[in-house]
Symmetry: none
DNA sequence: TGAAAAATACCAACAAATAGCGATTGTTTG
DNA sequence: CAAACAATCGCTATTTGTTGGTATTTTTCA
Protein backbone atom coordinates (compact mmCIF):
# COMPACT_ATOMS: atom_id res chain seq x y z
CA UNK A 1 0.00 0.00 0.00
CA UNK A 2 2.08 2.91 -1.21
CA UNK A 3 1.50 6.54 -0.44
CA UNK A 4 0.30 7.92 -3.76
CA UNK A 5 -1.94 4.98 -4.54
CA UNK A 6 -5.68 5.22 -4.85
CA UNK A 7 -7.29 3.51 -1.91
CA UNK A 8 -10.21 1.20 -2.59
CA UNK A 9 -13.32 1.57 -0.47
CA UNK A 10 -16.31 -0.68 0.13
CA UNK A 11 -19.43 0.82 1.69
CA UNK A 12 -21.82 -1.22 3.81
CA UNK A 13 -24.72 1.07 4.55
CA UNK A 14 -28.49 0.49 4.55
CA UNK A 15 -29.39 4.04 3.52
CA UNK A 16 -29.03 4.68 -0.19
CA UNK A 17 -28.96 8.41 0.40
CA UNK A 18 -25.95 8.14 2.68
CA UNK A 19 -24.29 5.54 0.52
CA UNK A 20 -24.65 7.59 -2.65
CA UNK A 21 -23.64 10.76 -0.84
CA UNK A 22 -20.42 9.20 0.33
CA UNK A 23 -19.67 7.88 -3.12
CA UNK A 24 -20.19 11.33 -4.60
CA UNK A 25 -17.98 12.99 -2.02
CA UNK A 26 -15.21 10.46 -2.49
CA UNK A 27 -15.47 10.58 -6.27
CA UNK A 28 -12.92 13.33 -6.71
CA UNK A 29 -10.54 12.15 -4.02
CA UNK A 30 -7.91 9.46 -4.01
CA UNK A 31 -10.43 7.11 -2.49
CA UNK A 32 -12.28 4.94 -4.97
CA UNK A 33 -15.58 3.35 -3.98
CA UNK A 34 -15.50 -0.07 -5.61
CA UNK A 35 -18.78 -1.41 -4.32
CA UNK A 36 -21.75 -0.59 -2.11
CA UNK A 37 -23.66 -3.08 0.06
CA UNK A 38 -26.77 -2.89 2.16
CA UNK A 39 -25.96 -5.71 4.57
CA UNK A 40 -22.88 -7.27 6.08
CA UNK A 41 -23.83 -10.63 4.61
CA UNK A 42 -23.82 -9.22 1.09
CA UNK A 43 -20.39 -7.83 1.69
CA UNK A 44 -19.04 -11.06 3.18
CA UNK A 45 -20.28 -13.04 0.22
CA UNK A 46 -18.56 -10.71 -2.20
CA UNK A 47 -15.38 -10.48 -0.18
CA UNK A 48 -15.07 -14.25 0.22
CA UNK A 49 -14.80 -14.66 -3.54
CA UNK A 50 -11.97 -12.15 -3.80
CA UNK A 51 -8.32 -13.12 -3.91
CA UNK A 52 -6.37 -11.92 -0.91
CA UNK A 53 -4.54 -9.18 -2.77
CA UNK A 54 -7.71 -7.65 -4.14
CA UNK A 55 -9.24 -6.94 -0.73
CA UNK A 56 -10.35 -3.36 -0.29
CA UNK A 57 -8.22 -0.96 1.72
CA UNK A 58 -11.13 0.55 3.60
CA UNK A 59 -14.47 -0.80 4.69
CA UNK A 60 -16.96 1.91 5.55
CA UNK A 61 -19.55 0.28 7.76
CA UNK A 62 -22.65 1.51 9.54
CA UNK A 63 -22.41 -0.08 13.00
CA UNK A 64 -26.18 -0.45 13.29
CA UNK A 65 -25.80 -3.38 10.92
CA UNK A 66 -23.87 -5.20 13.61
CA UNK A 67 -26.79 -5.13 16.01
CA UNK A 68 -26.46 -4.28 19.66
CA UNK A 69 -24.34 -7.30 20.42
CA UNK A 70 -20.68 -6.47 20.63
CA UNK A 71 -17.98 -7.35 18.22
CA UNK A 72 -18.89 -10.90 17.35
CA UNK A 73 -19.43 -10.25 13.64
CA UNK A 74 -16.44 -7.93 13.50
CA UNK A 75 -13.88 -10.57 14.26
CA UNK A 76 -15.20 -12.73 11.48
CA UNK A 77 -15.23 -9.76 9.18
CA UNK A 78 -11.52 -9.09 9.27
CA UNK A 79 -9.59 -12.03 10.54
CA UNK A 80 -6.33 -10.65 9.29
CA UNK A 81 -7.15 -6.99 9.89
CA UNK A 82 -5.66 -6.10 6.55
CA UNK A 83 -8.31 -3.53 5.85
CA UNK A 84 -9.12 -0.35 7.66
CA UNK A 85 -12.54 -0.27 9.28
CA UNK A 86 -14.41 3.03 9.45
CA UNK A 87 -17.79 3.63 11.07
CA UNK A 88 -20.49 5.71 9.42
CA UNK A 89 -22.55 7.28 12.20
CA UNK A 90 -25.88 9.00 12.06
CA UNK A 91 -27.74 7.26 14.82
CA UNK A 92 -26.65 6.70 18.36
CA UNK A 93 -24.16 3.89 18.80
CA UNK A 94 -22.88 2.80 22.22
CA UNK A 95 -19.25 3.95 22.48
CA UNK A 96 -17.93 0.49 23.36
CA UNK A 97 -19.10 -0.75 19.98
CA UNK A 98 -16.86 1.77 18.28
CA UNK A 99 -13.65 0.56 19.89
CA UNK A 100 -12.67 -1.61 16.97
CA UNK A 101 -13.11 1.02 14.32
CA UNK A 102 -10.14 2.95 13.02
CA UNK A 103 -12.24 6.09 12.57
CA UNK A 104 -15.80 7.36 12.70
CA UNK A 105 -17.51 9.59 10.18
CA UNK A 106 -20.42 11.73 11.31
CA UNK A 107 -23.43 12.53 9.18
CA UNK A 108 -22.62 16.24 9.28
CA UNK A 109 -18.91 15.97 8.58
CA UNK A 110 -17.62 18.16 5.78
CA UNK A 111 -16.14 16.43 2.71
CA UNK A 112 -12.64 17.56 3.64
CA UNK A 113 -13.13 16.18 7.14
CA UNK A 114 -14.29 12.86 5.77
CA UNK A 115 -11.29 12.51 3.51
CA UNK A 116 -8.99 13.52 6.32
CA UNK A 117 -10.51 10.90 8.59
CA UNK A 118 -10.14 8.23 5.94
CA UNK A 119 -6.49 9.14 5.55
CA UNK A 120 -6.02 8.82 9.29
CA UNK A 121 -7.77 5.47 9.17
CA UNK A 122 -5.42 3.98 6.59
CA UNK A 123 -2.49 5.29 8.58
CA UNK A 124 -3.89 3.65 11.73
CA UNK A 125 -4.44 0.38 9.92
CA UNK A 126 -0.91 0.48 8.55
CA UNK A 127 0.43 1.08 12.01
CA UNK A 128 -1.68 -1.77 13.33
CA UNK A 129 -0.20 -4.07 10.69
CA UNK A 130 3.29 -2.97 11.66
CA UNK A 131 2.55 -3.65 15.27
CA UNK A 132 1.31 -7.11 14.44
CA UNK A 133 4.38 -7.92 12.44
CA UNK A 134 6.98 -6.29 14.59
CA UNK A 135 5.62 -6.33 18.11
CA UNK A 136 6.36 -9.39 20.13
CA UNK A 137 2.90 -9.67 21.61
CA UNK A 138 -0.29 -7.82 20.85
CA UNK A 139 -2.79 -7.21 23.59
CA UNK A 140 -6.13 -8.94 23.32
CA UNK A 141 -9.32 -6.94 22.93
CA UNK A 142 -10.20 -7.45 26.55
CA UNK A 143 -6.75 -6.43 27.68
CA UNK A 144 -6.98 -3.21 25.68
CA UNK A 145 -10.32 -2.55 27.29
CA UNK A 146 -8.85 -3.03 30.75
CA UNK A 147 -5.83 -0.92 29.84
CA UNK A 148 -8.07 1.93 28.75
CA UNK A 149 -9.73 1.98 32.14
CA UNK A 150 -6.44 1.66 33.96
CA UNK A 151 -4.91 4.71 32.34
CA UNK A 152 -8.14 6.61 32.96
CA UNK A 153 -7.43 6.13 36.62
CA UNK A 154 -10.06 3.61 37.64
CA UNK A 155 -9.16 1.19 40.40
CA UNK A 156 -9.25 -2.56 39.79
CA UNK A 157 -12.47 -2.76 41.78
CA UNK A 158 -14.13 -0.05 39.72
CA UNK A 159 -13.06 -1.71 36.49
CA UNK A 160 -14.47 -5.00 37.66
CA UNK A 161 -17.78 -3.38 38.49
CA UNK A 162 -17.87 -1.56 35.18
CA UNK A 163 -17.25 -4.71 33.15
CA UNK A 164 -19.22 -6.97 35.48
CA UNK A 165 -16.27 -9.23 36.17
CA UNK A 166 -14.46 -10.10 39.37
CA UNK A 167 -11.59 -7.97 40.61
CA UNK A 168 -9.43 -11.07 40.33
CA UNK A 169 -10.02 -11.21 36.63
CA UNK A 170 -9.07 -7.57 36.29
CA UNK A 171 -5.89 -8.28 38.19
CA UNK A 172 -5.15 -11.23 35.92
CA UNK A 173 -5.59 -9.07 32.84
CA UNK A 174 -3.34 -6.41 34.31
CA UNK A 175 -0.69 -9.00 34.98
CA UNK A 176 -0.88 -10.10 31.37
CA UNK A 177 -0.74 -6.52 30.13
CA UNK A 178 2.35 -5.79 32.19
CA UNK A 179 3.92 -9.04 31.07
CA UNK A 180 3.20 -8.54 27.38
CA UNK A 181 4.19 -4.90 27.16
CA UNK A 182 6.97 -5.00 29.67
CA UNK A 183 5.65 -1.72 31.06
CA UNK A 184 5.11 -1.59 34.78
CA UNK A 185 4.24 2.03 35.49
CA UNK A 186 0.90 3.70 34.89
CA UNK A 187 2.65 6.57 33.14
CA UNK A 188 4.38 4.22 30.76
CA UNK A 189 1.14 2.40 30.10
CA UNK A 190 -0.58 5.70 29.36
CA UNK A 191 2.08 6.56 26.80
CA UNK A 192 1.69 3.10 25.30
CA UNK A 193 -2.10 3.45 25.20
CA UNK A 194 -1.87 6.88 23.59
CA UNK A 195 0.69 5.68 21.08
CA UNK A 196 -1.35 2.64 20.15
CA UNK A 197 -4.66 4.48 19.83
CA UNK A 198 -6.20 2.63 22.73
CA UNK A 199 -7.14 5.94 24.31
CA UNK A 200 -6.97 9.57 23.23
CA UNK A 201 -5.52 12.37 25.32
CA UNK A 202 -8.88 14.03 25.92
CA UNK A 203 -10.20 10.89 27.57
CA UNK A 204 -7.73 11.22 30.42
CA UNK A 205 -9.46 12.99 33.31
CA UNK A 206 -7.54 16.06 34.41
CA UNK A 207 -9.34 16.38 37.67
CA UNK B 1 -26.91 19.07 48.14
CA UNK B 2 -26.87 16.33 50.70
CA UNK B 3 -26.52 12.65 49.95
CA UNK B 4 -29.99 11.32 50.69
CA UNK B 5 -31.77 14.24 49.05
CA UNK B 6 -34.00 13.81 46.02
CA UNK B 7 -32.37 15.41 43.05
CA UNK B 8 -34.52 17.58 40.82
CA UNK B 9 -34.33 17.05 37.09
CA UNK B 10 -35.44 19.14 34.13
CA UNK B 11 -35.75 17.47 30.74
CA UNK B 12 -35.25 19.37 27.50
CA UNK B 13 -36.10 16.94 24.76
CA UNK B 14 -38.11 17.34 21.55
CA UNK B 15 -39.41 13.78 21.48
CA UNK B 16 -42.35 13.21 23.78
CA UNK B 17 -41.75 9.47 23.69
CA UNK B 18 -38.24 9.86 25.02
CA UNK B 19 -39.22 12.55 27.45
CA UNK B 20 -42.06 10.54 28.93
CA UNK B 21 -39.97 7.40 28.97
CA UNK B 22 -37.27 9.10 30.99
CA UNK B 23 -39.84 10.49 33.40
CA UNK B 24 -41.33 7.05 33.89
CA UNK B 25 -37.94 5.45 34.50
CA UNK B 26 -36.92 8.12 36.98
CA UNK B 27 -40.28 8.02 38.75
CA UNK B 28 -39.27 5.42 41.29
CA UNK B 29 -35.72 6.66 41.82
CA UNK B 30 -34.36 9.48 43.94
CA UNK B 31 -34.44 11.69 40.86
CA UNK B 32 -37.56 13.80 40.52
CA UNK B 33 -38.47 15.20 37.11
CA UNK B 34 -39.88 18.62 37.90
CA UNK B 35 -40.53 19.78 34.36
CA UNK B 36 -40.21 18.80 30.71
CA UNK B 37 -39.43 21.18 27.86
CA UNK B 38 -39.27 20.80 24.11
CA UNK B 39 -36.86 23.65 23.40
CA UNK B 40 -33.96 25.33 25.13
CA UNK B 41 -35.78 28.66 24.98
CA UNK B 42 -38.73 27.28 26.89
CA UNK B 43 -36.39 26.07 29.55
CA UNK B 44 -34.47 29.34 29.76
CA UNK B 45 -37.68 31.29 30.20
CA UNK B 46 -38.78 29.05 33.03
CA UNK B 47 -35.39 28.97 34.66
CA UNK B 48 -34.97 32.75 34.56
CA UNK B 49 -38.02 33.19 36.74
CA UNK B 50 -36.69 30.84 39.39
CA UNK B 51 -34.88 31.97 42.51
CA UNK B 52 -31.27 30.86 42.63
CA UNK B 53 -31.82 28.21 45.26
CA UNK B 54 -34.63 26.54 43.36
CA UNK B 55 -32.55 25.72 40.30
CA UNK B 56 -32.69 22.09 39.30
CA UNK B 57 -29.84 19.78 40.14
CA UNK B 58 -29.74 18.12 36.76
CA UNK B 59 -30.60 19.30 33.27
CA UNK B 60 -31.14 16.46 30.85
CA UNK B 61 -30.67 17.93 27.40
CA UNK B 62 -30.78 16.54 23.90
CA UNK B 63 -27.74 18.08 22.21
CA UNK B 64 -29.49 18.29 18.83
CA UNK B 65 -31.33 21.27 20.30
CA UNK B 66 -28.07 23.16 20.45
CA UNK B 67 -27.52 22.95 16.70
CA UNK B 68 -24.19 22.22 15.16
CA UNK B 69 -22.53 25.30 16.55
CA UNK B 70 -20.40 24.59 19.58
CA UNK B 71 -20.94 25.56 23.12
CA UNK B 72 -22.12 29.15 22.81
CA UNK B 73 -25.60 28.41 24.10
CA UNK B 74 -24.22 26.16 26.76
CA UNK B 75 -22.19 28.83 28.45
CA UNK B 76 -25.21 31.05 28.58
CA UNK B 77 -27.25 28.21 29.88
CA UNK B 78 -25.29 27.67 33.06
CA UNK B 79 -23.18 30.69 33.89
CA UNK B 80 -22.54 29.45 37.40
CA UNK B 81 -22.41 25.77 36.49
CA UNK B 82 -24.45 24.95 39.55
CA UNK B 83 -26.40 22.27 37.76
CA UNK B 84 -25.23 19.05 36.27
CA UNK B 85 -25.66 18.77 32.52
CA UNK B 86 -26.47 15.40 31.00
CA UNK B 87 -26.89 14.62 27.30
CA UNK B 88 -29.69 12.44 25.98
CA UNK B 89 -28.39 10.72 22.85
CA UNK B 90 -30.23 8.85 20.18
CA UNK B 91 -28.95 10.47 17.07
CA UNK B 92 -25.37 11.06 16.09
CA UNK B 93 -23.73 13.99 17.85
CA UNK B 94 -20.18 15.11 17.07
CA UNK B 95 -17.98 14.12 20.01
CA UNK B 96 -16.62 17.61 20.50
CA UNK B 97 -20.11 18.83 21.30
CA UNK B 98 -20.34 16.41 24.17
CA UNK B 99 -17.29 17.69 25.99
CA UNK B 100 -19.23 19.99 28.27
CA UNK B 101 -21.68 17.38 29.43
CA UNK B 102 -21.18 15.62 32.73
CA UNK B 103 -22.62 12.41 31.34
CA UNK B 104 -24.38 10.97 28.31
CA UNK B 105 -27.39 8.69 28.28
CA UNK B 106 -27.93 6.40 25.31
CA UNK B 107 -31.32 5.45 23.95
CA UNK B 108 -30.72 1.81 24.77
CA UNK B 109 -29.36 2.28 28.27
CA UNK B 110 -31.02 0.19 30.95
CA UNK B 111 -32.89 2.04 33.74
CA UNK B 112 -30.23 1.08 36.26
CA UNK B 113 -27.54 2.37 33.93
CA UNK B 114 -29.38 5.65 33.51
CA UNK B 115 -29.72 6.17 37.24
CA UNK B 116 -26.09 5.25 37.75
CA UNK B 117 -25.02 7.76 35.14
CA UNK B 118 -27.11 10.48 36.73
CA UNK B 119 -25.52 9.75 40.08
CA UNK B 120 -22.08 10.03 38.49
CA UNK B 121 -23.14 13.31 36.91
CA UNK B 122 -24.13 14.95 40.19
CA UNK B 123 -20.87 13.77 41.68
CA UNK B 124 -18.95 15.27 38.76
CA UNK B 125 -20.81 18.56 39.08
CA UNK B 126 -20.10 18.70 42.80
CA UNK B 127 -16.43 18.09 42.17
CA UNK B 128 -16.43 20.80 39.51
CA UNK B 129 -17.86 23.26 42.02
CA UNK B 130 -15.13 22.36 44.50
CA UNK B 131 -12.49 22.98 41.86
CA UNK B 132 -13.94 26.36 41.11
CA UNK B 133 -14.00 27.40 44.75
CA UNK B 134 -10.56 26.15 45.67
CA UNK B 135 -8.95 27.92 42.75
CA UNK B 136 -5.86 26.25 41.57
CA UNK B 137 -2.55 27.14 43.13
CA UNK B 138 0.86 26.90 41.58
CA UNK B 139 3.09 24.06 42.61
CA UNK B 140 6.31 24.84 44.42
CA UNK B 141 9.67 23.97 42.94
CA UNK B 142 10.02 20.97 45.19
CA UNK B 143 6.54 19.77 44.39
CA UNK B 144 7.26 19.93 40.67
CA UNK B 145 10.42 17.96 41.30
CA UNK B 146 8.46 15.28 43.14
CA UNK B 147 5.76 15.30 40.47
CA UNK B 148 8.35 14.71 37.76
CA UNK B 149 9.55 11.58 39.51
CA UNK B 150 6.01 10.42 40.23
CA UNK B 151 4.96 10.49 36.58
CA UNK B 152 8.19 8.79 35.62
CA UNK B 153 6.98 5.88 37.66
CA UNK B 154 9.26 5.99 40.69
CA UNK B 155 7.78 4.84 43.98
CA UNK B 156 7.66 7.12 46.99
CA UNK B 157 10.55 5.21 48.52
CA UNK B 158 12.69 5.58 45.40
CA UNK B 159 11.94 9.28 45.21
CA UNK B 160 12.93 9.69 48.85
CA UNK B 161 16.21 7.92 48.22
CA UNK B 162 16.89 9.94 45.09
CA UNK B 163 16.30 13.27 46.83
CA UNK B 164 17.76 12.15 50.15
CA UNK B 165 14.59 12.87 52.06
CA UNK B 166 12.27 10.67 54.09
CA UNK B 167 9.45 8.80 52.41
CA UNK B 168 7.08 10.72 54.69
CA UNK B 169 8.19 13.96 53.16
CA UNK B 170 7.56 12.57 49.70
CA UNK B 171 4.09 11.52 50.80
CA UNK B 172 3.46 14.98 52.21
CA UNK B 173 4.48 16.58 48.95
CA UNK B 174 2.28 14.22 47.02
CA UNK B 175 -0.64 15.07 49.24
CA UNK B 176 -0.05 18.76 48.58
CA UNK B 177 0.25 18.14 44.83
CA UNK B 178 -3.03 16.24 44.74
CA UNK B 179 -4.72 18.90 46.83
CA UNK B 180 -3.43 21.83 44.78
CA UNK B 181 -4.10 20.34 41.37
CA UNK B 182 -7.21 18.41 42.28
CA UNK B 183 -5.85 15.49 40.24
CA UNK B 184 -5.81 12.13 41.94
CA UNK B 185 -4.75 9.70 39.24
CA UNK B 186 -1.23 9.17 37.94
CA UNK B 187 -2.52 9.43 34.38
CA UNK B 188 -4.12 12.78 35.09
CA UNK B 189 -0.95 13.98 36.78
CA UNK B 190 1.10 12.92 33.76
CA UNK B 191 -1.16 14.95 31.47
CA UNK B 192 -0.83 17.88 33.86
CA UNK B 193 2.95 17.52 33.97
CA UNK B 194 3.19 17.30 30.19
CA UNK B 195 0.88 20.26 29.75
CA UNK B 196 2.79 22.39 32.24
CA UNK B 197 6.24 21.53 30.88
CA UNK B 198 7.27 19.78 34.05
CA UNK B 199 8.26 16.73 32.02
CA UNK B 200 8.50 15.92 28.33
CA UNK B 201 6.99 12.85 26.68
CA UNK B 202 10.36 11.29 25.91
CA UNK B 203 11.24 11.27 29.58
CA UNK B 204 8.47 8.79 30.32
CA UNK B 205 9.93 5.29 30.30
CA UNK B 206 8.06 2.94 27.99
CA UNK B 207 9.37 -0.18 29.59
C1' DT C 1 -13.93 -31.83 16.13
C1' DG C 2 -9.95 -31.15 18.91
C1' DA C 3 -6.18 -28.24 20.43
C1' DA C 4 -4.87 -23.62 21.53
C1' DA C 5 -5.86 -19.16 23.06
C1' DA C 6 -8.52 -16.08 25.65
C1' DA C 7 -11.32 -14.89 29.34
C1' DT C 8 -12.76 -15.91 33.62
C1' DA C 9 -12.08 -16.73 38.76
C1' DC C 10 -9.69 -17.50 43.16
C1' DC C 11 -5.91 -17.44 46.89
C1' DA C 12 -2.20 -15.66 49.84
C1' DA C 13 1.52 -12.85 51.06
C1' DC C 14 3.61 -8.79 50.47
C1' DA C 15 4.46 -3.84 48.77
C1' DA C 16 2.79 0.58 48.06
C1' DA C 17 -0.31 4.35 48.35
C1' DT C 18 -3.76 7.19 50.74
C1' DA C 19 -6.21 9.62 54.51
C1' DG C 20 -6.12 12.08 58.57
C1' DC C 21 -3.76 13.63 62.06
C1' DG C 22 0.38 16.63 64.14
C1' DA C 23 4.89 18.93 64.45
C1' DT C 24 9.51 21.52 63.73
C1' DT C 25 12.46 24.64 61.21
C1' DG C 26 13.49 28.22 58.20
C1' DT C 27 12.13 32.15 54.96
C1' DT C 28 9.52 35.71 53.26
C1' DT C 29 6.78 39.72 53.80
C1' DG C 30 3.24 43.10 55.07
C1' DC D 1 7.01 41.20 64.88
C1' DA D 2 3.56 38.03 63.38
C1' DA D 3 1.48 35.59 59.83
C1' DA D 4 1.95 32.80 55.86
C1' DC D 5 4.29 29.54 53.46
C1' DA D 6 7.72 25.96 52.15
C1' DA D 7 10.09 22.02 53.35
C1' DT D 8 10.96 18.66 56.39
C1' DC D 9 9.63 14.37 59.41
C1' DG D 10 6.50 11.33 62.04
C1' DC D 11 2.37 8.25 63.32
C1' DT D 12 -1.80 5.01 62.61
C1' DA D 13 -5.14 2.84 59.98
C1' DT D 14 -7.00 1.51 55.78
C1' DT D 15 -7.19 0.73 50.95
C1' DT D 16 -5.16 -0.57 46.75
C1' DG D 17 -1.83 -2.84 43.90
C1' DT D 18 1.70 -6.50 42.94
C1' DT D 19 3.32 -11.13 42.37
C1' DG D 20 3.11 -15.87 41.53
C1' DG D 21 0.54 -19.32 41.62
C1' DT D 22 -3.78 -22.68 40.04
C1' DA D 23 -7.97 -23.78 37.59
C1' DT D 24 -12.35 -23.64 34.90
C1' DT D 25 -15.06 -22.17 31.02
C1' DT D 26 -15.62 -20.15 26.56
C1' DT D 27 -13.98 -18.93 22.00
C1' DT D 28 -11.32 -19.41 18.10
C1' DC D 29 -9.52 -21.66 14.33
C1' DA D 30 -6.99 -25.08 11.70
Amino acid sequence: MSVREQYSVAIIEPSRIVSEGLSAILHDSDFRVVRQFETVDDFNQWEAALPEEKRVDIVLLNPVLLGTHPSQPLNGLFPDACSSLVAMLYSYIPPELLLEFDATIGIDDAPTTIIEKLRDAVATAAKRLDCQNIDKQELTKREKEILAYVVKGLTNKEIGEKLCISIHTVISHRKNIVHKTGIKTVSGLLMYALFNDIVTADEIPQE
